[in-house]
Subunit: 196 residues, 2 copies
DNA sequence: GTCTATAACTTGATAGAC
DNA sequence: GTCTATCAAGTTATAGAC
């Protein structure tokens, strides 16, 4: 308690560094070997410490993986949100597709982490959280172009979202795959449904 | 050896029944709890036998899962191939989408099994096997309509394949989701790229 | 604060009784 | 042919030394 005044900053720095390191190695591990391969022992080994040391910084293994997933997800939505807000309403769906494909291409490990978490997601996750943001951008873009918002924006968003996933997954297998061109083709198909 | 002449048929029948049962419970298990949840113990419990009994009928646990995956995959490709061949060349891409979405909707467990296998696929699998068949249908349809086949059929197939996955995944979360309508919307987006 | 040592349990697989 | 009993190796997590 009395040490806290001058000790907190330094200790918190170490604490944060360790947490950041553990999150980093966990993302690498999940990306390389999948969810199942990211055991506590493997995480500890890559970080150069023991299993117990890992569980000192995080209450449980699930917490480590959750933190790693959150880290990757936060970076993604922050990046995409920035790009979307910088565009005018009529072109926000296209900006969404471009920035999402771009971000996932530039961060392959984050991509695998997010995909793995989506699939292996046991239980409490809202699937609508995935397509709702894009669905709203689609509806808004339709209105901005002088049309009505009554199309099935949900289905459009779901299909486009699936297309994005597939493009990124393909690039994961074939690094030479031109994701930028693929994104533009997906945008073409999307734009056709946006015009009134 | 001497018993074999009259015993083979009966024993083989039992053998096949057991294998079929194990494949069935494994598909259910993977569908419900994912790849990681399908442990040898869980498979044995659901089948009402012991772990050792399972490993009597299959050499290893991986073999059980592989057989289950193969079973689901064979049913899918057989169904889709039949529907595609029944259609004329110009409309085969649409038939592909409809039959695939339809089959996956009618067999939700098979669907999860296939998805789980795709993601958790460690190593030797050809990713092109997924989009190549559709890509060829797309090119052929373009030609049949009097156009050239020089569009990027690969990217089209990848995007449409991702759309199918997303539609089916959505129906898995929301059983009331109208996958037939979604399939038709996806076909609309696809058709726009097929006309010369 | 960090780690050693170990607990408590589950995994896939095998040997041998019946 | 099928099962009991057992195996070694892996898993997460905890208690307590330092």
């Amino acid at each position: 308690m009395t040490r806290k005044r001058e000790g907190t900053a330094e200790l918190t720095l170490i604490e944060r560094a360790r947490r950041a390191q553990l999150i980093e190695v966990t993302i690498e591990l999940v990306a390389d070997r999948g969810y199942g391969g990211a055991s506590l022992a493997a995480i500890a080994e890559r970080a150069g410490i023991t299993k117990a040391a890992v569980l000192y910084h995080f209450p449980t293994k699930a917490a480590v993986v959750r933190a790693a997933h959150q880290h990757a997800l936060t970076a993604l939505v922050g990046d995409v949100a920035g790009a979307v807000e910088a565009a005018d309403v009529a072109h926000r769906p296209a900006a969404y597709v471009r920035s999402m494909v771009g971000h996932l291409r530039e961060h392959p490990r984050h991509t695998r982490m997010i995909i793995e978490a989506m699939v292996h997601d046991d239980g409490d996750h809202d699937p609508a959280a995935r397509w709702r943001p894009l669905a709203e951008l689609v509806s808004a873009a339709r209105v901005a172009r002088g049309g009505s918002a009554d199309i099935d924006a949900r289905t459009t968003a779901i299909i486009v979202g699936g297309g994005i996933d597939a493009i990124v997954a393909e690039q994961l297998h074939d690094p030479d795959y031109d994701t930028a061109a693929a994104a533009e083709r997906l945008i073409e198909m999307l734009e056709a449904t946006l015009s009134p």
